[in-house]
Symmetry: C2
Subunit: 375 residues, 2 copies
């Protein structure tokens, strides 16, 4: 097979240059060697990865608009498709030398997602379309990375496909072709809500109201044009969920995590007077206070503040690679520890661990013992 | 008059050393020259100031406890007096060469407080006790430094005396003598709630419940002993008020302003199950959301996020010194501007200005115009 990189085959050379400039790093997944861009470099997004001569482009960041009406007017020149935004982690799935692999946003092969691919999607699509790169979100309470998961997923994880790319072609597969491929290959896609016009925000607001009521994170708007302009916009529900999921990690996260979300909520309320402001106030207060209070109470029993994780693997080796991955990735700041791996009756390996919040734990140790603070 | 510095007269020498080590700075207030410690230095608190040979000690920081029961047990060896903590700014008032002066916490002569002293307290106490240093909080909606003010002060500012020091003697005037001096000279003191025992937190909790209901910030506990151990503890009401006063300045302040207060609230709730948790959730949500929403709405009219200030001066010169002071002090980060000074019929000079929140203003300008954010 011929190399499946950029149209002019130059991407491989750019990655060589990135390696020389320390903007890329060599990685290994079992016997497989690859290179990933640790930073955006010469037009290639961070997380772009090279396997031999095949280059998987990074998934480009999508800008958020915080005022829907002006955001639509400013950024869209043509009608756009509206698709649900799912609160999970981003992966790119593709076939390389007969093997299905899933890359994380940062360009690591994700041992968990790669392990679980047979449960998440039918591989047949890659027989028909071997040059396809499936961009998807993995979400659910059984995911090993994120605190919180979208409502309606009872356990384990679910895959939500939201974009398709092809090796050697820039950009995304156009919407019409993409929707056709979803259908033909029964890909588990994010719900799409149709095509909207940038001059008519009211119709989109109607959709958002319904999504908010269902606790959906928000929407991604994808212009139906050659330039493929995109933007995202979130619901109040997503702000509350994000805050609630991490309020007991308040001291561990960059403060912008909270301040940005509070500002988002105020901006949404300002342009959506129909929203239940009283209800949102109370939900916001509860989202901040209840997890902190639970953490304080929990500290008395366990002397730590931590979130438990539980995720299932098909293969023991992948679970072990995953543990190693957590230690290696820049995410090592997540302070995962207490790994336990057990085989279940159904043959799956269940990995449990916890994510410790060391700063919060230290503060509570001091405060609860009566320590004095000079602040 | 003999120098009124430390018992052994060594404080002046320490300040000379601090000047040499750039831990002190020479200042000027009209014709008056003085030196202030910009950092704590050799046992003298930051804000210690020297006028000729007189040394006014800085007001030492008081540690906060976040768990009342353990805090009492840990830090107090003897009964303590409980006094209300007032949400204002800290001043030290004294007489120097026949002139009454007020120092800010940082050791600057505060032109506003100094100007208004004749309105705030009777100066006769300094005739009877010339070596007295009166430590007090200035609070009220007419103060030029703080956003919020305690409930019950309708306008202008009020002085609340909470400690007395004497030139040339270390530490504070003991409680019994202090209360006697308050009474003899009718000093406007913070309310005191009596003497409590560290083994009986329940009695103190009863007081705190009543203070919380009145919106009082909290208490300062002062051990009735030679070592004068102190600690402070706040009410839920104060947390809500602090957050509400500055929620629209969320992006301007160190993030710890908010995270510390949220954690305080959770810790108070944890040890005070009788508190109305539902009510606090909603008040917390409102405290964060309402000012931000007001700021967003206000931006449409004024294209800025700002708080207005209005304060009264007896003398024009002091108002001008105050404007200069705001520019000079490390607080220049407060971005005060739009100063207007007008004489009222009652002879007072009214200074109005606003404090701009430049980061929030910039963010809203971008977000409301529909700008995209890559966060």
């Amino acid at each position: 097979m011929s190399p499946r990189s950029a149209i002019d085959g130059s991407e491989g050379a750019v990655i060589d240059e990135a390696l020389a400039r320390k903007k890329a790093q060599r990685e290994r997944f079992g016997p497989l060697e690859y290179v990933r861009l640790t930073d955006a470099f010469r037009g290639l997004p961070r997380g772009t990865a090279r396997f031999g001569e095949d280059v998987v482009p990074g998934y480009p960041p999508i800008g958020r608009v915080l005022n829907l009406e002006n955001g639509l007017r400013h950024h869209f020149e043509a009608p756009f498709h509206v698709e649900e935004k799912v609160d999970g982690y981003n992966v790119r799935i593709f076939r390389h030398q007969g093997e299905l692999l899933a890359l994380s946003r940062g360009g690591f092969i994700c041992p968990f997602t790669t392990d679980r691919l047979p449960d998440l999607m039918a591989p047949a699509v890659f027989d028909a379309e071997p040059d396809l790169i499936v961009c998807a979100e993995v979400a659910g309470p059984g995911n090993p990375y994120l605190e919180g998961s979208p409502p309606g997923i009872e356990d384990d994880v679910v895959l939500f496909v939201f974009d398709l790319m092809r090796f050697g072609r820039p950009g995304f597969v156009p919407a019409a072709e993409r929707y056709a491929l979803y259908e033909r290959h029964r890909l588990p896609a994010v719900p799409a809500h149709g095509r909207f016009h940038p001059d008519r925000p009211a119709a989109l607001r109607e959709v958002l109201r319904e999504l908010d009521a269902r606790g959906v994170e928000g929407v991604v708007l994808k212009e139906d044009s050659a330039r493929q302009k995109r933007a995202k916009y979130v619901t109040p529900a997503s702000v509350i969920q994000d805050i609630s999921a991490m309020a007991d990690g308040l001291m561990e996260l960059p403060p912008e995590y909270f301040t940005n979300r509070l500002l988002r909520l105020a901006l949404i309320l300002e342009e959506s007077p129909e929203l239940d402001r009283d209800g949102l106030r109370e939900r916001l207060g509860a989202a901040l206070l209840d997890p902190l209070l639970t953490a304080v109470r929990g500290y008395h029993d366990s002397h730590k503040v931590a979130h438990p994780f539980r995720c299932r693997f098909r293969g023991r080796e992948n679970a072990e690679r995953f543990i190693e991955h957590l230690g290696r990735a820049p995410r090592s700041a997540i302070h995962a520890r207490g790994f336990e791996l057990e085989r279940e009756e159904d043959g799956y390996w269940v990995l449990t661990f916890e994510r410790i919040f060391p700063r919060t734990t230290g503060l509570l140790a001091n405060f609860l013992s009566g320590g004095q603070v000079y602040d």
